[in-house]
Symmetry: C2
Subunit: 352 residues, 2 copies
Amino acid sequence: MPSSRVTITDIARYVGVSPSTVSLVLRRKGAISEATKEAVHRAIDELGYVYDRNAANLRSRTTQAIGLLINDVRNPFFAELATAVQEASEEDDYLTHLLSSSENVARQSRYIRSLLEMRVAGVIVCAATGTDREALSPLLEREIPTVLAVRPLDVEGVAFVGPDNRKAGELVARHLLDLGHSDLAFIGGEPGNPARDARFGGFAAALEERGVGLNPDWVIDIRPTVTAGAIAIERLLERSPRPTAIVCYNDLLAFSASERLWAEGIAVGEDVALTGFDDLPLSRVAVPPLTTVDLKVHEIGRRASELLLDKLEHPGSEPQQVFLEPDLVVRRTCGSGCSPQNRPTQISEGEA
Amino acid sequence: MPSSRVTITDIARYVGVSPSTVSLVLRRKGAISEATKEAVHRAIDELGYVYDRNAANLRSRTTQAIGLLINDVRNPFFAELATAVQEASEEDDYLTHLLSSSENVARQSRYIRSLLEMRVAGVIVCAATGTDREALSPLLEREIPTVLAVRPLDVEGVAFVGPDNRKAGELVARHLLDLGHSDLAFIGGEPGNPARDARFGGFAAALEERGVGLNPDWVIDIRPTVTAGAIAIERLLERSPRPTAIVCYNDLLAFSASERLWAEGIAVGEDVALTGFDDLPLSRVAVPPLTTVDLKVHEIGRRASELLLDKLEHPGSEPQQVFLEPDLVVRRTCGSGCSPQNRPTQISEGEA
DNA sequence: TTGAAAGCGCTACCAA
DNA sequence: TTGGTAGCGCTTTCAA
């Protein structure tokens, strides 16, 4: 069995047909008789032929591939998004090239270039923190079909799919207010980050709506690293008076906040209420299980993929902006209102 | 500015040199005068040229790309591995094509085919559960440089980089024994899974070494899903007598086990000791912070990448088997021996 | 230090 | 239902 230099021409010769016929069989195009189809496939097996996508892409000047640029695969939220995009695009026979910038804008730019050089048909982008219009211009100038996911960006005429962050902020705030809290803190994220601003905006609006004051001492801005929650809690504990409920910018941050409170002997869910945003799989098995907002990542990924593939089939359509409705998920960190169906036993999937 | 149909020939004409000269400039090869280099780069900017990697790959019959096939990006352990591989291969100017099979063997096979069609130079594989020799044969038959990572497989002559799982098992068992425990349970993973068997093997050996009996009632086999820990704990609690220490197959499993124990009113770290394997970033901020074994994922990724790239530069070298030394990380779930440097405040990176 | 020409493996296009 | 031929955009090879 010859190594990987078997070409379509070899197959053609072997079967006794023309290269174009073999190509048609390979692509399931045109009307080819069952007999030749079979013969071609047999030859492929026998000669150990492997399709050369580089040659095909070059000649056809198209690819059946999209790029997915995400800010960090290590964040479970975005890993889930990536999985959803991969699955959805696979259904339409597109391959997803997944690249993780690790929040590094320079690396992100290199990856955009790579994607361009590969001639991907389109790109889905969860932009790294600090990305500006300029950074995306290689995509926009060449009019590569692009959809922004999760992280909105101040760029005109680009499609977007993400959560309704403002609504999410309102949801937690109202829940906490309904539980009788009126001393609410908001920790994590930095002003200027659109997701943080929208969540905080919804949060603040809900307070105002109920005539509850917002204590600026209880708003802690901090870059959302895995350790940030703990630091924010430390700062918060220095304040006097202290809040009775703490809204965290995301679940990851809530975990470290929760640990810090526990370490200080403050019982989360009893002495203080705590919430996150995202609803990671891990949030169900946190101790105590975290009350949070399901941002529908999987659906975001699916919709982003659908939007992009749709754009590829039907160019020239208006760029859509999709904001998915979030769901409040009440668990144990708020002390009450816990519904029994949120018990961990109910969880059904996810290999460890 | 013309769209992406600008070719090397256009650049050549614009500058007044030949296409081969432009090609040489692009690849930083040959001896080209500074003047022409500059002129070429200017032309590239002005005409908006984008290198066509498909054409280059076709002609040169090689690629500067490797494939990374992982079983699940949603598992933070493997997300970290992916990041490490990406970073390391980037240093050698290789692009990593990251594909996550989600533990689906059929999908994994499709991805292997895609990688082959892309003509990647080599592949790193974290095999999906259930993968056999046959599944990797497309790679092996064509002698594509391959290195298995994390998950060993019963395949002759293939390079491997992973943790020393047996050692890891010994480490936790000895720690627990040192703390005075003699009633130890082992939960999660299934016999036949090499990682589980090695960890369990080391665990059992350590008990035997100290003359401590192993109660089969306290060995719970279960597929390591996110919910498995809780289920295993439920089964364990039905037994009588009960163990005083519980070793979990991995950190994710330990989280749900921990939550379940908490829900039952059993204080982890006081009433019972609990440990995991992996040392995920989240394990430091779990409540209580999880005692576990650092399997050195990042280093595994880096070494796997180095091994592969080395193989690409120097073919014909013997396939190496690298087993990295694990480190015990003592935190709070064992009740004692907690060193202050494991406080969450010490964590230094990772965007949430 | 640069150029001319051939050709990588495939698909497009037209013809039969 | 199939075949012939040109050529996608690059690199290789050899020559100047």
